[in-house]
């Protein structure tokens, strides 16, 4: 048998889940050694713990539209920290691999760019799951230690929604990483996107409403385009809170969509995830950058 025939004996298929798993495990191992990842995790866990400790004594009070202060504060924390973690983690990853030359190491093997990108995405999603679970685990632990435990089902729901938000943001991060040339540019772009979805989205919408007297339906649609706002809405619904807390858009949502609003919010986050990952795959496959 010739060398070529030997080498082709186990010819690879176009897409192999085995390779996706190998790359995902490698990414999780890398993330577990990344100081930025641990810094974010520690910050998120510390803040979640602190919120729980300070909010638990009042958790039986009604506030923030009908759900506990702990949960409301955790939603606010997640809105800020999780998008920042996921966007920067995703944006730095492939661009960092490109900067260090390890992307060439991966791509000179019989793996496709799609397998590399999706394996990276799955690995980073696993890392984000660990980070979110750790943060909410700390919140639950502190809550239990204070003899006034927050409903564990509520925490699990909130953690699951936080992870869904992180999946959408990771997709955007990888899209950035697939299209820029260096890790520093990717990081800068990710921070700009974070500002846009977390702060400029809110301020922009408020300004637009004032300036254009936007109809409430259009206002709701504008709010829901933002995955962070969709997360907030889904969280309020999942925690059995009142959407009135979200102002006229929340009231409109209840009137217009009733119980289906949570599905819409989840659909928005899922659409962002699929669209961002799909666009990242296309950009990475098309790119010449190694």
């Amino acid at each position: 048998m010739t060398a070529v025939a030997n080498s082709l004996h186990a010819a690879p298929r176009a897409f192999e889940l085995r390779l996706l798993s190998v790359i995902a495990r490698k990414v999780i191992r890398e993330a577990s050694r990344d100081r930025w990842f641990w810094l974010y995790c520690a910050g998120f866990t510390a803040l979640a713990g602190a919120i729980t400790i300070t909010a638990v004594p009042d958790h039986n009070l009604i506030g923030s539209g009908g759900f506990g202060r702990t949960a409301a504060s955790l939603v606010a924390l997640v809105q800020l920290v999780v998008p920042l973690m996921a966007l920067t983690l995703g944006a730095r990853y492939l661009a960092g691999e490109r900067d260090s030359g390890t992307l060439v190491f991966l791509l000179c093997h019989p793996v496709s760019r799609t397998e590399v990108l999706l394996g990276t995405y799955v690995g980073l999603a696993g890392s984000m799951f660990a980070a979110v679970a750790t943060g909410f685990g700390a919140a639950g632990l502190f809550s239990a230690l204070r003899s006034a435990p927050t409903d564990p089902v509520l925490l699990v729901r909130l953690a699951a929604l936080s992870w869904l938000l992180s999946l959408a943001m990771l997709g955007l991060g990888l899209l950035i990483s697939s299209t820029v040339r260096s890790a520093s540019t990717a990081l800068g772009t990710a921070l700009f996107v974070w500002l846009a979805v977390v702060f400029l989205g809110d301020l922009g919408i408020m300004g637009t409403v004032v300036a254009t007297r936007l109809p409430v339906g259009a206002l709701f649609a504008t709010v829901m385009v933002n995955p962070v706002e969709a997360f907030r809405l889904a969280s309020v619904v999942a925690l059995d809170g009142s959407l009135d807390a979200l102002g006229p858009a929340g009231t409109y949502a209840v009137d217009r969509f009733g119980d289906g609003i949570a599905d819409i919010a989840l659909g928005v986050m899922a659409t962002w995830t699929i669209a961002a990952v799909g666009a990242a795959v296309l950009a990475f496959r098309r790119g010449d950058q190694t």
Binding site: A3, V4, P12, V104, P110, T290
Partner: protein
Amino acid sequence: MIRVDGLTKAYRSKVVVDDLSFSVEGGEAVALWGPNGAGKTTVIRCLLGLVRYEGLIEVGGMDVGTHSKLTRGLIGYVPQELGFYADLTVAETLALSSELRGLARSRIGEVIEAVSLGAEAGKRVGELSGGMRQRLGMAVALLPDPPVLLLDEPTSSLDVTARRRMVSLLDSLRGPERVLVITSHRVEEVGMLVDRVLALDAGRLVHECPPGELTGRLNLESWLHVVLPSSQTAGALAHLTAAGFNAQENGHGVLVGVSPEDKVSALGCLREGNFEIMDFEVWR
């Protein structure tokens, strides 16, 4: 084994490989030779299917443009700038590579021994010297025992001892079914390792010849810097010029233009004239 037909690659509007055609048969060792910017590394990246290109490339009879994953299974590649995960050990790096190729781990020990990295198997890649990293690059490339080896400037970052060891290793890898494609800008190295040279300039194939003919075809010249006592410099310059050498004064000695295969004749000329040669080095 490798067929390239009308390969053209441009980055934005800059053409870096221009209508390149060549083929390499099984058992052949070929050098892509050329100055920096000649397009050698780009050709290698096209052969690997890492970048998009125009034209046709076949490896093992398969089109790289449509089957790059499959053709990469036939290729072992040592890049010029080795990018490894610094936190992984040598053995972990090879384990990752074998997982990516779907190979049995039993092969790892063999390649570690083949490149003499046995003592460093447990060392982190970030702790390795340049020469050791180069050998690790070779180990990764040899892991699948590939029929095609692409080596991009395999000795460029090595000191003299490591370079000699690498040349010896590369020589031992030649076989009746294996193709070696080496990029280099060192004429002497090319002469030791390959059967045929493809000389590139600005992305175009300018010469295709046996390595021994390369210097003549390209009118290449090296410079021999000979250090002499300052009192003898003027006399040596006159002596060399009279003997037909292109010589000029330089610092503590003379610079003599020589062909890469005949550097010793200038030294012989100076010895015949009883000049005291204190030191010498070759500049290119």
